[in-house]
């Protein structure tokens, strides 16, 4: 198809999708922000299979007017992070549930609902909402992120002024088979302040999430999330961050199950000596599983460090995609950039596509990237079995070991251990299923 024809097709599809939609009610500044985002959607057009960053992932179900049905999955397990002392903020099918949530107050942070913040004439979030997302399209179009900014109906905005005693835990429950949730959160970490956010749950049949994080000098932000085990759920998420001098930003995402996941991250290191780690592990079983992590890190200051560590375990025809880029701008000397994406393919049917990219305009930098995919190491498997481990048990041990490198990116060991146990459980159930 010719370029012009695709452009035409995209424009028509975009208008058709937008035709039935109206921007949610909000105050003056918020209305402006939404309209600007809507304009971005129009000018970029909704994603098309021929777009450079959608070659490996079919956006159709993410842009369709109606979300495909997704049944609710009862795991029979206690929810993640249940034992953690935390400030719980619950959303049911994308709607804030005050009953199930804790009182929104915690020393060291100001937290309120997005809709409340948006109704106000003056609010700090005005300088953040849609701003980092808006800047993220410089090199790569992210129309679904702009769409999220335009149409988000709920979310929280958090200003972090100190070091709160506990994390904020966003819990996303999925109760309706047709729910279509659009959430957008904003976090502003003030100088020297620190916050950890825990996120878990499938959120909806189809979930669009935006998260914008502005970390001021010497601030720190950590995100540990698990995307929920509902098999049929779909999610497209965008994490956008801007990092000041000597600040820290670390995220880890665990994805098990779900038919469609597209997780984008866009981080700008704008202050010297900032540190950014983006890690993830995904475990997919079955032909319907599709997971895509698309990461873009921009170094625009000196002496910064960034790491991208992604591990995929794929079986029975599952698909994994990794598109990761490190952009080092002119003058961003002494950049230390690292990127690794690896897949363990437990059978010949599963596939992993990787598109690692480096774009460097500074001369004194150390950047490396690597991508591998392969089966379980036969020698290691034999060694474990020769010591008495059953084949499936040895495979699980090696699989966990494979994922361990990504889990190690989580600074808090208790959270890492909790996720590790869930992973072990997931593997064990599959082992039992395979055996029985």
């Amino acid at each position: 198809m010719a370029k012009a024809a695709i452009k035409q097709q995209k424009a028509e599809a975009t208008e058709a999708r937008l035709a039935g939609l109206t921007l949610p009610e909000s105050g003056a500044w918020a209305r402006e922000a939404r309209e600007a985002a809507l304009e971005r959607v129009r000018s970029m057009g909704l994603p098309h299979r021929r777009d450079e960053y959608w070659k490996f992932t079919d956006p159709t179900s993410l842009t369709a007017e109606e979300p495909p049905q997704a049944s609710v999955f009862e795991t029979g397990e206690p929810p993640l992070f249940d034992g953690v002392d935390r400030l719980k903020v619950v959303f049911v099918d994308g709607v804030f549930d005050p009953e199930a949530s804790d009182d929104l107050s915690l020393e060291g942070i100001e937290i309120e609902r997005l809709s409340e913040a948006m109704a106000k004439d003056i609010h700090w979030v005005r300088d953040l909402y849609g701003k980092i997302e808006g800047a993220s399209h410089e090199k790569v179009d992210r129309p679904l992120a702009a769409f999220n900014t335009a149409f988000a109906t709920d979310g929280v905005v958090i200003r972090v002024t100190g070091k709160p005693s506990k994390p904020v835990s966003l819990v996303y429950l999925h109760k309706s088979e047709r729910s279509d949730a659009i959430l957008h959160h904003c976090v502003k970490v003030e100088e020297g302040a620190e916050l950890t956010i825990l996120e878990n749950g499938p959120a909806a049949a189809r979930f669009s999430k935006g998260l914008e994080v502005d970390v001021a000098d010497t601030g720190a932000f950590h995100l540990v999330r698990a995307q929920g085990r509902d098999h049929e759920r779909r999610a497209v998420t965008g994490t956008f961050a801007r990092l000041g001098r000597e600040s820290t930003f670390k995220t880890f995402t665990l994805t098990v199950n779900g038919v469609m996941t597209r997780n984008e991250a866009y981080v700008e290191l704008t202050g010297d000596e900032a540190v950014c780690h983006i890690a993830g592990a995904c475990l997919g079983d079955g032909r319907d599983f599709h997971h895509d992590a698309t990461v873009f890190v921009t170094h625009d200051a000196v002496n910064c460090e960034s790491r991208q560590v992604f591990k995929n375990v794929l079986r029975n025809g599952a698909t994994g995609v990794f598109q990761g880029k490190i952009l080092v701008k002119q003058g961003a000397q002494k950049t230390d950039g690292y990127q690794i994406s690896q897949s363990l393919l437990l059978d010949d049917d599963s596939t992993f596509q990787a598109k690692p990219e480096l774009e460097i305009y500074a001369d004194d930098v150390a950047c490396s990237h690597g991508s591998t995919s392969g089966a379980i190491d036969a020698d290691a498997l034999y060694y474990l079995r020769a010591r008495g481990m059953a084949k499936a048990e040895a495979e699980n041990l090696l699989t966990l070991a494979f994922v361990a490198e990504a889990l190690e990116e989580i600074e808090n060991e208790a959270y890492a251990e909790e996720l590790r146990e869930r992973l072990a459980g997931w593997l064990e159930r599959r082992r039992d299923r395979a055996a029985g």
Partner: protein, 251 residues
């Protein structure tokens, strides 16, 4: 203990016969040594016995305590009491040495219908065994064999043997890469395990090891066969004159 009769083995992938009829009988309580030129099939024999993939048994049998082992999975052979100390121990990144050993021990116990060992008991057990072999606690925490020196890897094999307490121990060139002191430690470790109910098959190139671990029987393997069997003096002869005379004599 271990009975091997007329064992012939070829590679699965290509038409290459490696073992050409091996007969070997190791009694409980005895130490047998196998020596032989490079490429004669010593490691292959140990791999075939422990169940490594890639080999095809075309003739013959092998049994452990009267049970045919050739049809068993590697883990079943281990549970039945077979242990191979590898010539080249495998590095396993991401799997802690302790976790590995505890999982292995419990797998074997489960397979034998025994109860799993408690964490506390296991810790006690491994600390004691590691101390005997002068293995630093720090090494137990590291990933299996990753970054271990050649000698450390070999000591780690013997540690596994000491913890798993197998009935039939096959040691494939456990002495190679060991310094003089480590050789003594490893030999002490092996000798500590010697008892009435346990058999050993020690593959080595050097008489030196056999000074520490005194064999009852010495076999010479060449071109896929045991070509000569004798007492400890056979090892001394090899040490002095090499294989030339022996091989000429049997040819």
């Amino acid at each position: 203990m271990l009975d091997i009769k007329g064992l012939k083995v070829k590679l699965e992938e290509e038409d290459k016969q490696i073992l050409k009829g091996v007969d070997l009988h190791v009694e409980a309580g005895k130490v047998h040594a196998i020596m032989g030129p490079n490429g004669s099939g010593k490691s292959t024999l140990s791999y075939v016995l422990s169940g490594r993939e890639g080999y095809e048994v075309t003739e013959g049998s092998a049994s452990l305590l009267g049970e045919d082992i050739l049809d068993m999975e590697p883990e079943e052979r281990a549970a039945a009491g077979l242990f191979l100390a590898f010539q080249y121990p495998v590095e396993i990144p991401g799997v802690g040495n302790m976790t590995f050993l505890r999982t292995a021990l419990n797998s074997q116990r489960k397979a034998r219908g025994q109860e799993e060992i408690s964490s506390a008991d296991f810790l006690k057990l491994i600390r004691e065994k590691a101390k005997n072999l002068q293995i630093e606690p720090e090494m137990l925490k590291r990933a299996v064999n990753v970054g271990f020196s050649g000698g450390e890897k070999k000591r780690n094999e013997i540690l596994q043997m000491a913890v798993l307490e197998p009935k039939m121990c096959i040691l494939d060139e456990t002495d190679s890469g060991l310094d003089v002191d480590a050789m003594k430690l490893v030999s002490d470790g092996v000798n500590a395990l010697r008892d009435e109910g346990r058999g050993f098959l020690v593959i080595t190139h050097y008489q030196r090891l056999l000074n520490h671990i005194k064999p009852d029987v010495v076999h010479i393997m060449s071109d896929g066969r045991i070509v000569k069997t004798g007492g400890p003096e056979l090892a001394l002869e090899v040490e002095e004159n090499g294989y030339g005379d022996i091989l000429n004599e049997v040819a």
